[in-house]
Subunit: 478 residues, 2 copies
């Protein structure tokens, strides 16, 4: 396999329509524009004020002193636009085989019945190779250019995931889960046999990634205490020390489900709250991603805000497991950064677009309980807001807001070309599968509606090309 830390070796020019989040509330549309991407995969020029795309192209080439024959050109067709790559801030790669398999469970029962038996399989590297390859290809196909992955306790399998992401070209945080606490939530065959061993296994993964991608340019380790119920204080404390020494990010679960919260309170009777358990062991940091955060108290939100930790909102998972309805607007009002997570396989879908859609719907369910119209309107998330969560919001959560999430000079070209079907076009290829979004002639001037149609009905068929750092990672060039 070709090394993917090496970006595309040619310059690129992207021509046509670009959409990204300007603010949490607003999408920006640059139409008939041009963006230039250099050999390192960085955006080095944008022309968004020309009268037409031909002029934009000419001016940008001229401004950069580039020659057309040195440049790969990607032009939007009708119904197409460039959009930033999606950022999945919480996803269990090892649970990919059981997406959609819940039985009638909620969190704890589901972990024991479905998740742990699935994770046990990863002692077999052949299984890991097959599942992780399928998972990374699948998420890339859905436009996920960055993913914060949980794996299992297995070092070899975890290293394999790092290698697969690196070679397939997905930006990834690789988190070997630490679970060293005796009990139902760390079955023996998965459990780290001691806190020391949990830390030493974690170090082995870090060393492997240090060799693979020394600058963590594409792939980085992430410290991953699974959650308070499956870790010992010693392991959490050790991971916190590693964080202080190595400045690595941290990810864990918090306040997902009422029963889990009660169990945490029983296990740590003196902590005061779930968030305080993590804070006690030094795990609430500006580089910490807290999955779920559904039922946080005001005090916990305040603490998380003080520590500048981030939240991964996982609506597909919270609805499917009946965990609860996370309050994005409430978190925003408390000045906490939020991104989206698929949380496969608590979430049933590998798609961040599906997570965005469910984020809208969960906000509607929250709004149904609003006491008045004003609150209802505030609680409801808009198309623009959930697409912000999926891109720029996610970038902040994983600490990459200077690199990805939008189209600005200096950022990396992590992007997708989205294509929607215009009814009547493609006469010759009408038996081809253009996906579920149909645009009619009269839609074409209304970009807000076009993006809404994509958000509500789009899928991986609409993600035509995906780039990470300027390199085309889907469909893979032959």
């Amino acid at each position: 396999m070709e090394s993917s830390s090496k970006p595309s070796s040619r310059k690129s020019l992207m021509l046509g329509n670009f959409v990204h989040s300007q603010t949490p509330d607003e999408l920006k549309f640059f139409l008939d524009a041009a963006i230039a991407v250099d050999e390192r995969g960085k955006i080095v020029g944008i022309d968004d004020d020309s009268a037409d795309v031909h002029t934009a192209k000419k001016q940008l080439l001229c401004r950069l002193r580039w020659h057309e024959h040195d440049v790969d050109v990607y032009s939007c067709k009708r119904g197409q636009f460039f959009f930033p790559g999606f950022i999945d801030t919480h996803v269990h790669a090892s649970q990919y085989p059981i997406v959609g398999v819940f039985g009638e469970s909620t969190l704890i029962h589901w972990l024991q019945t479905y998740v742990f038996p699935c994770e046990e399989r990863f002692s077999d590297e052949k299984v890991a190779q097959q599942v992780y390859t399928a998972c990374v290809q699948r998420t890339l196909a859905h436009g996920t250019t960055t993913a914060a992955y949980y794996t299992t306790t297995h070092v070899a399998a975890t290293n394999l995931l790092a290698k697969i992401c690196f070679h397939l070209g997905q930006r990834a945080f690789i988190g070997r889960v630490c679970m060293d606490r005796d009990g139902d939530l760390s079955p023996e065959c998965l459990r780290d046999p001691s806190s020391q061993e949990a830390l030493s296994r974690t170090s082995k993964v870090i060393e492997f990634i240090d060799d693979l991608d020394p600058d963590y340019d594409l792939v980085s380790p992430i410290l991953t205490p699974r959650f308070a119920l499956s870790c010992t204080p010693k392991a959490m404390d050790g991971l916190s020390k590693m964080h202080c020494k190595l400045h690595l990010p941290i990810q864990t679960h918090i306040s997902e489900n009422p029963l889990e919260i009660k169990d945490v309170a029983d296990m740590y009777p003196n902590a005061g709250s779930y968030a305080k358990v993590y804070d006690t062991y030094g795990l609430l940091t500006p580089k910490t991603i807290l999955g779920h955060s559904v039922h946080l108290s005001e005090g916990e939100a305040r603490l998380i805000r003080e520590r500048k930790s981030k939240v991964s909102h996982c609506p597909c998972s919270n609805s499917a497991l009946g965990s609860g309805e996370a309050r994005v607007r409430w978190l925003w009002d408390r000045d906490i950064d939020v991104g989206l997570g698929t949380d496969m396989s608590g979430g049933y879908s590998p798609s961040i677009l599906e997570a965005a859609r469910q984020a809208v719907l969960v906000s509607r369910h929250l709004a149904m309980k609003a006491p008045d119209e004003e609150t209802r309107k505030k609680v409801n998330l808009s198309v623009a807001q959930v697409l912000y969560l999926a891109t720029r919001g996610g970038a902040k959560v994983v600490g990459l807001e200077d690199k990805v999430g939008g189209f600005e000079v200096g950022k990396d070209w992590d992007a997708q070309l989205v294509g929607l079907h215009v009814v009547g076009d493609h006469k010759e290829g009408r038996h081809k599968d253009h996906g579920n979004v149909d645009l009619f002639e009269w839609d074409l001037c209304n970009w807000k509606d076009i993006v809404a149609k994509w958000m509500y009905n789009g899928d991986d068929r609409n993600t035509k090309i995906v780039w990470v750092k300027g390199r085309q990672v889907h469909p893979r060039p032959c």
Copy 2:
């Protein structure tokens, strides 16, 4: 176009795995079985107790005295199964162009801002031809073999939809909407100019369908007072009389959104309830489909039960428009039949599989509020239950329970072949798009999980072939 009332002219033999709803709570799996379908599209034999599919086939052919060379054979591959066609009990064909376009609205505002301007376009038959063709092809592709359609007030456009369904082979109820009441909810350009004209236009559509498909074998008219807010008592009364004379089914909306309910109470101050408005004008009958029914009172449920009217649950719509969370279990407990509706474009998706998925999720949101574990478990809908709603439940709602919804001798072959991707298969065609569901080798013996994976992550790519009355309607035979 070939007439589709004419069924497939050859006998067919379906071989392999069959799944259907045995009861509302239970799926039945017949593996290595065979089903014989005659030239009229009727199931004439089932062999589900042989040791293998080869024996099943041989025995069935022998029992029916059929010769193999007279028969078209369809065999399941790995990861494939036959499933009953979906029944969409509530769908606005005319709103297909605006699926996913909501802005920040709820029901009434959305009707005025998006729906009515869209429906106005159907005075142009060219628009109707384009939109209705796209809509029927799209719903067929998603496995919808029967649909209860709302159109607009336009007669010519409505007749066109009947013709398109008939020729493309979809079983359909065609409902020209009646809206003859002055006011914001019947804008002038759409309004029937008088109640008399509303009834006479309705008769014109009935006459057209009487000519097209005299026995309503595939396409039937359905009387469609849009909803209490846009109809006069005179029109409702007239439609009720037509129902009594012609025994045609009726469809309308009820109790979707709190504001709408308030408006109905204001408009009909003496009625006593929304359901009683319809009852007063003779519209609650055993052949009445009530869309939504989100906020029904105990008294309304009792009345609906007494009248034996049916309910179309539209979860995608109710969540997207923030209308509320319909209580399927509550309706079942009150002995009311329930089916699923996409309610495009209140619902954002043409897919009944998506409606099934959202029915699960909406039930989870309801369950979150349950006072105890027992209630929670009861409120939660299972995969089996929502697939029942999508097939057999829907068949009851549209009054076709003797014809479709499951695999029994005497029923019509309205079915879909579902195909899921087995990781590692299709080596040669690995660049083909197999959809989002990945089965692993170890999944293949667990049919409950296979169906769950499809329900949670499947889409139209997994619907490989669709038949109505034994005729292949998707992909269309060349």
